[in-house]
Structure formats: structure tokens, C-alpha cells
Subunit: 456 residues, 2 copies
């Protein structure tokens, strides 16, 4: 980079990180283990074996700081990685701020978000283990399309249960999955016992993520050559996403910058962890000292209003118990448009480092998020997905604070996906139909009442 | 590029071309001039002045080989340019071909196609000339959204007339234009005399591109500080697009390749011209010898079945007469999904070089195009817009011919946009609802009967 006039910082393919970073061994305290849902004893690798191939299970519990990214995985990631790091100069100008705003853009992936960073290795390890088909659930469709794309690369089948309401309202994500060869069912579906049971009660059942998980799991666990794939929350998923932060570190180094503030949107936690963990490593090593902040929707404030305790990952209560910030596994968030942030819990690793005081958390309402997104789109061009509008709104807040204080802070965030398949939510915002939800304490208390009481 | 294992070839921002290439002075014969629609005399700069600012008119008739790209324009182009050149290794493997397939990807622009390459300079020159608002027409919405984005960068208003059928069926493109601050009307609209007249006859009038052009022009020409913008066909538009080919030349040089075959989809001709003209320059200079081929839809075969003669650019017959390959300005193509290729004529410059025998042309039906697009999406990840599926299908044909012959040809094409807002057409294809149209000679004859007879 010969001058200070750059708009984006690119890396050559030869500079792509070749290892994932596992933050676990670097933490001052180890994160609490997952528990078996029946015995409440720590879950061992065998408990996960019906769902995941052993190499992924070993990553889930690994104590190695770095794990090599297989060449076959890198070959696919290189279809779009390294992803660009942008300096949002036109947004800085619009806000009239002395701050420098950088954003790592993950919308360049074929599926349009950061999700393929983990769907590709997950499909790879499954294919290598002889698995012939992966099942999964999807809400709005981001994860389902990422997995469909990945399965096409390793010649394995992909079967997706998409929440029925979404399946009917947003047919385009389904089409995208089908283009990559996946089979997509509305959930509840006629394919599973559980689905048939629900459809018998209500032929127009709208479905839920919890139901879709149950259906996907039920079509994987009993079969030798079928496994299940999860797009967030778990340790190995967050680890696969650290390629985002590793690249961003290299890119900032090229222009001689280190972040003063890092903000990332958090749903299940994989986008946030992917960006933040490598920077946390540098911070723990005393090489930089950024404030690191999670940004969650006011309608689903897991970290800022949830409790830190053991809870199920799914609504039906079938998964291992994980210690995490939760609003209660029966909590159904209001239908805000950032579908990827509507999860009742938070990744155990993100929850743990939040408890340790290593990161901050705030929640932001939708109106402020869409307002920030419009400023961003008009200045920088890219139309963001609803999820990263939370990160953008937080970056805008910080940049405006710098305008007040005169501080020339370096702000780093991740734009984890484009909004090309989410324009209906912008249409609603422009029509004045998007309002903030003031989440009642009662709604949270009611859902928390269903969380099992577990010692420790 | 240290090795031969690359998937994409990137350029640093500092390598962005700083001049557009004007092919006109290099041609063995000058292209015939545009004619005034009333007098049939060659149209002079003043004839274009009610529609365009003088700097664009001067570019339209320029005899300079190179024109500097203003710094303010480069600053915006750098939001996404230089665009990547991909080597389609996974597609090559899928096709089992010895050919090397390269594609230049323009879907990285904020609007998702190559169109912002010209909308940005057009907005810039208009803003510089004191213009406060640009009007334009759009069909499916690619051009309208590109202009909306560009106007947001130079703080001028943008007013778009979108063909009513499209406006109603594809609300998402309208939303995208509104995100960037544009005002969008369905056409025919209540805003213009012509629109009101048509709506009085039929309140549900579906509209047409010709009608939308008439409305947009009628709201620009009479006003001092309003001008009109066109997204293809004209010389200056094709020239702005040559940045595509100039970058591709630099990128291929980095890996020591020259194309044996260049294929590009042609609608109005700007994507094709943008990629091909710099390579034609190299070919004329004896530096390489690629076969250069236009690919058009079987349902709108302007070059392969049209006549080369003077015709109007719009359906209503208001524009200057241009000598071009035309199916007749009253020709209404069947509703194939590649909206950007549904133009009755071809850019005069592309028509001229085709007449001179400098390029070839073929037409391909939709079924083959979508089949090729599916192979492409599954191998390379990116879901192409319907327009470049024609280029992809032609590249696949060529690669399969290489498989037969054993030739290791270098094939170059442009993927001029992504298909994220065109998934409905893929849905139809996957449902078996997309069929090829066998265009009748009678339909062409009928439309050609309306073309004015002009000597020369």
C-alpha cells in the first residue's frame, strides 16, 4: 500500500490464514463444559457422535491454540477469500467524524454472508468421514444456503428444514439452496413423525427454529451416513470464523493501524467471535488494547438482559445443556427482521468471555439500525443485511462520539452479509412500518421459568 | 502472483486504469453518424444538449483514443474496483476440459452489475455542469439502481420511471433505488402528460421501456437543471465500460495469459464493448489474436437476425436515428428473463465492428443458458444474473469443444452481474417453466416494416 489514500485493503490469496485460532487455551479460566441433557454430567465426544463427525467433535473440545485449515477447504474458501477490509471514508465524511472506520466485508461469499466460512469445513470433514448427506435447519435461509453451497463443493447431499413461515414468505432463499442442489422442506414437514404430528394439529403451522432443529436432527442421528450441521453457537463453528479476524489483523497491519474499538453484531455469536477472538488474543498478549463490544437487538437482548446459566440450545430441549447467557429456551423473540439475531441464547464461549469482563455488550433498537444502514448504503454503496445494521449503528454511535470529543479513534467492525435478499425489510422501514419493541421483563421471566435448575 | 495455483487475480487500487479507451479513432472505417430524427442530417452536439451535459456529448463524438477518468470518479469506482478476474478452475474440472476459463466479475459493484461503471461518471459530469436531477427509465431495475447509487455519491436527485409490470412484479429493485434516495414511478405514470394519457386508456397499463424512456426524457429536456441518463448503446457509455477490459488485460498479463476466445453477452452492447474493445485494440495492434464473439438471446437476436440500418433508439421514435443492427423499434421481445438483453437494437459501435467482420455473433436459447448457469453456480459458487448466463453458456460450449479437440484454449468472458434479485427466474427454470422461444421470421418482418427508409 503505497499511499494513505486507499479505500480497501486486499490480501493476495497467498496471504490467506492457514490456521484457525482456538481461543480456549488462552483464556484465564476454562469455559464450563456442555452437559448431557439426561444425566447432567459433562458431555463427552461420544455424546456428540450421532450428530457430528469425530474431527469436528475433537475441534469442539480442542486445547490446541491453532488448527491447520485443510488444503481442500482453503481451495474452496479462495473462491472469495481473503475478503476485503474497507475503510469507510465516505461514511466518515458524511458523519463529519475524525474517527477512522474500517469494516471487514463478508458479503462477497457466494451465499452472501460469513456462514460459508464454517459450512465449507463442516461439509469437508463430513465428506472425509464418509457422510453422504447433511441435514440442517434454517430460518431466513442464510445458513441453509451456506450449507447447500458447501455440500455442492464436496459432492454430498444437503437436506434443509426451513421454518414454514419463512419458506412461504421468502421463496428466494429456497431457490438459492435449490440452485446449489439442496432439498428444502418447509418445517413442520411431512417427512418426519414430529412434523406430521404438528401438521395434523394445524395444516398451516408456521413452524419455528426449534421445530426445524428437531426435524433435521431426527433425520440425521439414526443414520450411519447422515450427520447434522449447526451454523453458530458451538466452539468449532466460532473457531472456523476466526479467519475473519486473522485476515483483518493482517490487513490493518498493512496500513499501520490497530483498533481502539471493535464492535460486532451478535446472534448466536459466530460472526462476533470470528472477528473478535484474534483481536482478544492480541489484547491478552498486550499488543493492543481495543474496547471490544457485542451489539445485540433490543428485541433479543441475550447478553444484556439474559441470565448466565445452563440451558438447552433448542426449543424442544433435546440438545446438550450449555452454560450461556439465555432468555430461556422457550423464549420466542418478536419478529424483528434480523432473523440471524433471533436466538434465545448466546455462544457459550462468547458468554464466558463476557462473564470474565473481557468484552462489553449493548443492545440497539431496529429504527436506529435501519437509519444507520441507510446512511451507510448511501455513503459506501453496499446495502447491509439486517443483522450487521446493528454493528453499523454501533460504529456510527462511536464515530459521532468521536466527533463530539475530537478523538481520532480507529473503529473496526464486520459487515457480515449483504441485504440483497432482505430488501422487503427495507421496504417496510422506508414505509415507516418498522418500530422498536420494548421487551417486557415479564416475557423474559416467563421464559426463564422453564430453564432447568442445575448446580454450578 | 507467486504460483500457478491462483483462483482469482486481484489488482491493487493503485493499478486501476486512469483512462477510458475510445475505440473510434482506431477503427479502419469511422462509424456512421447519428442523424437528427426530423431532418435526417447528421446530429450535432447541440441536438444532444437538452439531454446530456456537454462533457458527455464531447465524449460521444470524441476522436481521442484515451480520455482521463476524473479523480472524483475514480474515488467512487474504488469502492469496488478493480474488480476480480477469476480462473474458473472448479468449472473446468466439472466440464473435464483442457481449456482455461477466466471470467471478469462485475457483480461486486454496489448495484450488482457493470452499470455503475458508467452511472458514476454520468452523475459526476452532470453534477459538475450544475445539473440538480437526472431522470431515466429502467426495466428490471439494474440501470435504475446503478444510477440511484451514483446520484447519491454526487448529491443530485434521481427520478426513475420503471416499467409498470416490472415495478409491480419486482418490488425489490424499487426498494434498492429508494435506499439510495431515488424517486421511483411506475411507468406509465401520473407525472407526465403521456403517462396520464395512457393510464386514461388503461388504468392497469403494463408499460414498456419505450414508454418509460418517453416519460423520463419529457421530464428532463424542458428543464435547465435536469438532464437524462442512458445506461447502454451510446458511444460514451461503451467507453466508460472499457475499464473492464483494461483491467482484464492487466490481470491476464500478471499470469502470462492471452485469450484465444472472448465471449460476452450483448443487449445494448455496453458490457460486451467494455470487455472486448481493449482486446480489439491489442488485436488490431497484432499483439494477440483472439476470436471475439457476441452472444445474444435467441428471443432477441439483434445481430444474428436483425438488419443493419438507421432506426430509432426508442419505441416512440423520439431519439436520433442510429445506424445499427435492429429488429425494428416496434419489436417487442418475448418476455424472456434476461431483461437487460431485451433491446430491439444494438449499440452502433458494436454493430459497426460486426459489419466490419471484427467480431462474430451467435444466439443461445434460455434453456441452455440456465443449464450452464446451474453448472457454474454449483462449481464456482456465484449465482449469475440471467444476462451473463448467455456468456457462460457460450464459454461452456467452447470449453466442451476443447474437450473434444484436446485444445488448451484460453477462454475469457465477463460475468456482468449477480442474480440475487433474479431468483424468481431460477425458480421458474427449476420448475421446468422456462422454454426457448423460436422467434418467427414474420414477427421480425412486421417490426422491420416500421423502420424508416434512409439513404446510406
Amino acid at each position: 500500500m503505497a499511499n494513505d489514500d486507499y479505500h480497501k485493503i486486499l490480501l493476495d490469496e497467498s496471504e490467506i490464514p492457514t490456521q484457525w485460532y482456538n481461543i480456549v487455551p488462552d483464556l484465564p479460566e476454562p469455559p464450563p463444559p456442555a452437559l448431557h441433557p439426561g444425566t447432567h454430567e459433562p458431555a463427552g465426544p461420544d455424546d456428540f457422535a450421532p450428530l457430528f463427525p469425530m474431527e469436528l467433535i475433537m475441534q469442539e473440545v480442542s486445547q490446541e491454540r491453532y488448527i491447520d485449515i485443510p488444503g481442500e477447504v482453503l481451495d474452496v474458501l479462495k473462491l472469495w477469500r481473503p475478503s476485503p477490509l474497507f475503510r469507510a471514508r465516505r461514511l466518515e465524511k458524511l458523519l463529519d467524524t475524525p474517527a477512522k472506520i474500517f469494516y471487514k466485508y463478508e458479503g462477497v461469499s457466494p451465499a452472501g454472508s460469513h456462514k460459508p466460512n464454517t459450512s465449507v469445513p463442516q461439509a469437508y470433514y463430513n465428506a472425509k468421514a464418509g457422510v453422504k448427506k447433511l441435514t440442517t435447519e434454517t430460518g431466513a435461509g442464510q445458513w441453509g444456503s451456506a450449507l447447500a453451497f458447501a455440500c455442492a463443493q464436496f459432492d454430498i447431499e444437503c437436506e434443509v428444514w426451513q421454518v414454514a413461515a419463512s419458506y412461504r414468505q421468502k421463496p428466494h432463499r429456497k431457490t438459492m439452496m435449490e440452485i446449489w442442489g439442496a432439498t428444502v422442506h418447509p418445517s413442520p414437514s411431512e417427512v418426519t413423525d414430529f412434523g406430521r404430528e404438528l401438521l395434523a394439529q394445524d395444516a398451516d403451522h408456521p413452524g419455528s427454529l426449534g421445530i426445524a432443529i428437531s426435524e433435521a436432527v431426527s433425520q440425521a442421528a439414526p443414520y450411519e451416513d447422515v450427520r447434522y450441521a449447526l451454523g453458530s453457537v458451538l466452539n468449532h463453528v466460532l473457531m472456523h470464523q476466526t479467519i475473519i479476524g486473522e485476515e483483518a489483523l493482517l490487513q490493518l497491519a498493512k496500513v499501520g493501524e490497530t483498533p481502539d474499538v471493535l464492535v460486532g453484531c451478535t446472534g448466536g455469536g459466530s460472526n462476533f467471535g470470528g472477528l473478535a477472538f484474534p483481536f482478544l488474543r492480541e489484547k491478552m498478549a498486550g499488543k493492543m488494547n481495543p474496547t471490544i463490544r457485542c451489539v445485540e437487538p433490543m428485541a433479543c437482548p441475550t447478553l444484556t438482559k439474559g441470565e448466565y446459566r445452563y440451558d438447552f440450545g433448542d426449543t424442544a430441549g433435546m440438545t446438550p445443556l450449555m452454560k450461556m447467557h439465555t432468555l430461556g429456551h422457550s423464549f420466542i423473540p418478536e419478529p424483528i427482521h434480523a432473523g440471524g439475531l433471533r436466538y434465545h441464547g448466546m455462544a457459550p464461549l462468547v458468554s464466558h468471555i463476557y462473564e470474565l469482563g473481557m468484552v462489553e455488550a449493548i443492545s440497539i433498537g431496529q429504527e436506529e439500525c435501519f437509519a444507520g444502514a441507510l446512511q451507510f448504503a448511501r455513503a459506501e454503496g453496499i446495502v447491509p443485511a439486517p443483522e450487521p445494521t446493528h454493528a453499523i449503528a454501533a460504529a456510527v454511535r462511536e464515530a459521532l462520539a468521536c466527533k463530539e470529543s475530537g478523538e481520532e479513534k480507529v473503529i473496526l467492525t464486520a459487515l457480515c452479509g449483504h441485504g440483497h435478499l432482505d430488501l422487503a425489510s427495507y421496504e417496510k422501514y422506508l414505509a415507516g412500518e418498522i418500530k422498536d419493541f420494548d421487551l417486557s421483563e415479564d416475557a423474559i421471566s416467563a421464559a426463564m421459568a422453564g430453564v432447568p435448575t442445575i448446580a454450578g
